[in-house]
Amino acid sequence: MSSMTTSILPRPIHPTGLWAWLTTIDHKRIGILYGVTAFIMFLSGGIEAMYIRLQLAAPEQELVSPEIYSQLFTMHGTTMIFLAIMPMGAAFFNYLIPLQIGARDVAFPRLNAFSYWTFLGGAVMLKSSWFLGGAPNAGWFGYAPITSSAYNPGHGIDFWILSLQILGIASLAAAFNFIVTIINLRAPGMSLMRMPIFTWMTFVTSILLILAFPVITVALIEVMFDRFFGTNFFNVGAGGQPLLWQHLFWVFGHPEVYILILPALGIIAEVIPTFSKKPLFGYPVVVLSGVVIGFMGWMVWSHHMFTVGLGPVANSVFAVTTMAIAVPTGVKIFNYMATMWKGSISLTTSMLYAIGFIFLFVIGGLSGVMHSSAASDAQQQDTYFIVAHLHYVLFGGSIMALGSGIYYWFPKMTGRLMDEKLGKLNFLLVFIGMNVTFFPMHFLGLDGMPRRIYTYDSDMGWNLWNAVSSVGYLILALGVLILIVNIIWSVLSGEKADGDPWDARTLEWSMSSPPPEYNFEQIPIVHGIDPYWEQKREGLSTVPISGGSGDDDSHGIHLPQPSYWPPLASLGLFVSGYGLVYLSSSIGLVVSIIGAAITMVAVYAWSFEPVNDPDEGEGH
């Protein structure tokens, strides 16, 4: 078999430096790559938000033109959802899932690397649109027919379509990987109902991903064909219906928001029990709620379309299902609070973020329930009331949880603690800033301020709250700046952390910080929920191996070797993406074909590459 593999490029053996990162298939490194990239993308989305808030800070301004403004809110939304929150979640999935389930890596390490590099390509491609003739401008949800070539002749929308397709491939690859990993690489004794909640939520999220993304893939294909080939999917003159876009988009889009929040709920379910020194209250119910949310998430999508004229039957059905989905969400929140009840609470920064999550996410949930009534939504739709809701659930929810996760797992990933003083300052500014920015938007919405307008008349009565909101942005930005300072300072000179600085419960804490390359010296046997607490209670020797930087040789543990093919396959997609954006020109077709060829060669070489380099030999 090894003779089959005198491949074009021999597999890298113990690469160092930049090459090590480029060819890595280690889930921990891939997690860090995701995390750093996602954080940078979060900042870029924040810059887009900055322009928006500056523009809206006072009435009748023209700091940016209406055309640029449309690009700003489109890119802000698309960036935050696809380039920041989802990949940040992926960073945690990547780093933690194998550790939490007692595995050495994911089921398909090279596929894992591929999903990161593909994500990077899609992200770069999307952001590059700013400099290549204009970013997309039709909102993150790209409603037809404004996305048609008649109304949008530039390349912005093409960048949006192709980047999302590439990002979709990345997400799908990752999701398939985690599904197989979670099903098939759990340590002995770790039944599904003994998995950490974060792993459970990752599992449900991954299933949602593989079922929802194909729908947006089709929708994007349809709009792309309309633009490139003159098809009639959304061509009203030929009988096409823009409403079909909305349905297809939201059939994806609603599960997508659960994809954004379930990992967050998973993180909170890890943090709160640790810092309450109590096991999670109602573990089975929390699992079940997560699964039910995933399931019901498919039944509510048209609540984004209450005002398009679906008719009373459809509106009522979706209103009822939407109200119903608040129930399992609320159940989880109650369980988190019950976990804290009579617990021994330590208010670390991570815990503060988690408590902040509960408070803010519930506010977002309350406004969400207000939207669920089709009647009241008729007033709220397309106003700032929705903007308030979505930021409370996505910022107050997802981002706060990700912040909590950063403070919680930073020591594990870097071997150093983050500074608690800076952390608390960061939390305070973010918490206050977030509320000052977004709470007034409830008022603006109820006062009738529509979304997606670049300015407003000074006698609409919106001046005060817009100004307040923009000030809030400054507070938020300062808070984020403190976070950046904290991260950098802590990486360089934070207090050293041992394997288990928080007296935590799950298996990732049972090894050194950072973990050795092979994760577990011996795959553990699991006997219950919170296996590491159990191990500590029973006095089992769990001496973490200090300074583990991957000297795997002495244990006879063979790890998968790095590979060039995943990043090359991603490169091909990236090149193809640009080619397709410019398909109308002859060079575009050539470039697309070149990109496709690169990917095809890479995929072939990848298939024939041995999974483990047989020349490594045994027993070294």
Binding site: I207, Q241, L244, W298, S302
Partner: protein
């Protein structure tokens, strides 16, 4: 728990994921049934008098073909239930979403 357990997947070579295997004869028989059903479908197609009744008939016939291929050729009948769960989740969801979309576009209500 207190014994030596061999945790290896069974050492028999090849895919160890199924218990049982149909013979080539079974496969051939399935192919014949598939052909016959197709012939019936095409034959029934010309019976105009069936009117809307053809919908349930052709649906059932197609579902039978679908099921035969899945269960026998794709082996789901003999394999671990997990594979069926993974696939059927997607299939059933796709079916329900299609129906829901059609309903929302008044496909089932007379115009």
């Amino acid at each position: 728990m207190a014994q030596n357990e061999d945790m290896s997947t069974d050492t028999h070579l090849g895919s160890e994921n199924h218990s049982d295997h149909p013979t080539p004869l079974t496969y051939f028989k399935v192919a014949m049934i598939l052909s016959i059903i197709t012939a019936i479908e095409v034959g029934i197609f010309y019976v105009e008098d069936l009117s809307y009744g053809i919908i349930p008939i052709l649906t059932i016939l197609s579902v039978m073909k679908f099921a035969l291929v899945i269960m026998f050729y794709m082996h789901l009948r003999y394999d671990n239930r997990l594979f069926s769960t993974l696939f059927l989740t997607g299939l059933v969801l796709a079916f329900l979403v299609v129906i829901a979309l059609l309903a929302l576009f008044q496909f089932f209500t007379p115009s």
